[in-house]
Subunit: 425 residues, 2 copies
């Protein structure tokens, strides 16, 4: 039953069987979505008690006596800094709190570098060329930001313990145009890779050719475990300081997938000097973030322990979804040699690696059968997967019933596209 | 008792009296603040019922069926667009909703122009010179943004019905480097000027030399009446469209001084084409604003009528503060020829015009007596009041008791500084 070992006739016969099955699904007029890492309604319902901690009867003063209802505190209330620092395993003094979308902080870091430079460096808008390293597969929205700024993006392959550090060192230490690298160090988007201590230390010990090189460390899934365990990564801020590169990293996190995707709080963590540099601009940009929402989050979660307890509740929604997709892919695809997949220990995605040249076709087939997947190529700069192989599956949003159908459709499409390819070759 | 008509001896005698009074205040170790247009605690308390409309028991779907708790809707929920449009007297289709600080939208408009240009124009970062017109006195944070970007700021005098339009037309229609003008068209910050229909129409009929010239129309006090009346200004977006300049204006508003200064919602209003141009960037910048807070605002206020009713409640906190300062200034300063002041019909400030050359000294004297005022020069680009005359008084924040003392101290300082000046001259 291994497709690679089938004769042409066997392949054609199998294809006609799979095609019939595919047509059946197609005729059912499904409308399913496994494209975005969005929480499900069930998961959001589990967060609703957050909405009860601040009413007209409550006190709105922060721990420093500041009235959160009023203007001011451009970097956030102290207890929100404590909470977000704990989530990132760093110190509150290294944190600035911002609005609901951490992507916005990342974008602003790049916009600031373009308009004003970093710590007195030449504004990037004045340079002929700016390059970013992009471990692939990676987060499509990261690449969307750098593409929007016209930054040249360079693919860096991912290993099982993080990006290919030989290649990262080669670029960063030798090319002054390389100003940044996108990293999701824990449960990377989409593969769920956790950076090893060695990788983190090699990052911290880079010797960038460009003084204004920054690691964009998007710690998006810092507490997003699917199982009852804690997986630690090293604190990059501390490691950079130890290595004599205190200002080399901007770290980001948010509660988007802890509280509400549409109404959380976010944070940047970095060295004091970087924060001072950033504050020079944000004190002009805003009178302050939404401090009531900061207070609401702290009053509800209290501390990291509270967050971790809550994440177990969310995991009870997420884990069955991941396991269901895994089970169906096992049942439908095991032994066929059509692709590989790993269900991670945390994060929001399952990465499917199809045979080279099949990913676009699988996504296309799924779409025609009513199942929306993230576009093939999306996890790569310029939407170009050089091997047309990677598909990001997002199981978090659909209901279990929908997910079961969607995963089955996916499996049929994976088989179908592989058969087409093998027959064609 | 008119200081200007006193002999030198009379002035010296009066000065020693005023000095004694000043010393008395100084000895009392006051700690008062009339520097920022912040709401008082009493005013914020009046907004607390807003916090009760969304609890864990409520439904979180917007009018278009969208779950506000989740990702998405980068331009905001439909009913929030309706509400903010109504506040600005424009149409919902012309509105994008954003986070809590409208200053942030304004900053981002300029940052976008620097990084990407406007509708295909050369990015401002690539130009040798970018200039903004600044009606003065104006809002210090506006000027702070343009100064931060290295934009050359040109003072435009304010008349009783808006900026000197002859001068505005001269600059805008002839100098391609002039890319924008800061306007607060209703209850201008700080003078409380309401732009006349003629002024609005002259704005709409500008013929900018620069295609990417934009009017930055900060409608910050659109419903912020101190008295039971409605004062209308023309809809600049409609007027620009009528005049064949549909894309010439960015309008801004927020609920910062309607709901919570630290946790409101904000909006930009503009032509559909401008909004499309803006969305090209914000779809990369963020996954969306805080939609739960949008829903909270709409559920509470419902519509413009609801907002206006609420603003009457806030006016009942604000009006007595403005009238108290007015009364004390009348009692203490009338007939002395030391300065002029007007209590506006809306907005957040009283503008005091001291005799030329006295403003800095008044602010300094007040500070030494424990009363913080907005720095002299703050309402001008580069903090430079060419006549050293204007002082922005913010009566909204202190309690009535504090305000009474602060206003009395102010009056003494105004007298003292004028006497010093007259004696010196």
């Amino acid at each position: 039953m291994n497709y690679s070992q089938m004769t042409k006739e066997e392949l054609l016969e199998e294809k006609s069987k799979v095609e019939a099955l595919y047509k059946e699904y197609q005729d059912r007029g499904l409308k399913l979505d496994m494209s975005r890492g969005k929480p499900s309604s069930d998961q959001l319902d589990k967060c609703l008690p957050i909405m009860d901690v601040l009413t007209s009867k409550d006190d709105y003063h922060a721990s420093n006596g500041f009235d959160t209802r009023n203007y001011g505190l451009v970097d956030g209330i102290p207890e929100a800094k404590e909470l977000m620092a704990a989530i990132m395993d760093t110190k509150a003094e290294n944190v600035i709190i911002s609005g609901n979308a951490s992507l916005n902080i990342m974008f602003d870091c790049i916009a600031r570098a373009f308009c004003f430079g970093i710590m007195g460096s030449t504004p990037w808008s004045k340079l002929d060329k700016v390059k970013f390293l992009c471990p692939v597969p990676g987060y499509d929205r990261h690449f969307g930001v750098t593409e929007h700024f016209g930054i040249e993006m360079i693919n860096i392959p991912m290993n099982e313990d993080g990006p290919d550090m030989d290649m990262v060192e080669k670029y960063v230490n030798n090319d002054e145009a390389v100003k940044g690298i996108w990293c999701v160090p824990k449960f990377s988007n989409p593969e769920g890779v956790v950076y090893s201590d060695e990788v983190v230390r090699r990052f911290a010990n880079l010797s960038p050719k460009a003084k204004d090189f920054r690691i964009f460390w998007d710690n998006a899934y810092a507490v997003h475990y699917l199982y009852d365990e804690e997986i630690q990564i090293l604190d990059i801020i501390e490691e950079c300081a130890k290595a004599g590169n205190p200002n080399m990293v901007y770290e980001f996190a948010s509660t988007s997938k802890i509280s509400f995707a549409g109404a959380g709080i976010s944070a940047i963590a970095s060295s004091i000097d970087n924060l001072e540099d950033i504050k020079k601009t944000i004190t002009k940009q805003t009178i302050g973030p939404d401090k009531i929402n900061e207070l609401r989050h702290v009053r509800y979660f209290k501390d990291k322990k509270g967050v971790l307890e809550h994440m177990k509740v969310l995991a009870s929604e997420l884990r069955p979804r991941f396991e269901l997709v895994n089970k169906i892919l096992d049942e439908e695809l095991k032994g066929l040699d059509v692709g590989t997949y790993i269900v991670p220990r945390g994060g929001y995605f399952i990465t499917y690696r199809a045979k080279n040249g099949c990913a676009t076709r699988i996504v296309e087939l799924a779409k025609e059968a009513g199942v929306v997947l993230t576009g093939a190529g999306a996890p790569f700069p310029y939407h170009k997967d050089p091997e047309d192989s990677v598909i990001r599956i997002a199981p978090s949003y659909p209901s279990m019933e929908e997910l079961e159908e969607a995963a089955k459709v996916f499996a049929v499409c994976a088989k179908y596209a592989t058969l087409e390819k093998l027959i064609e070759d």
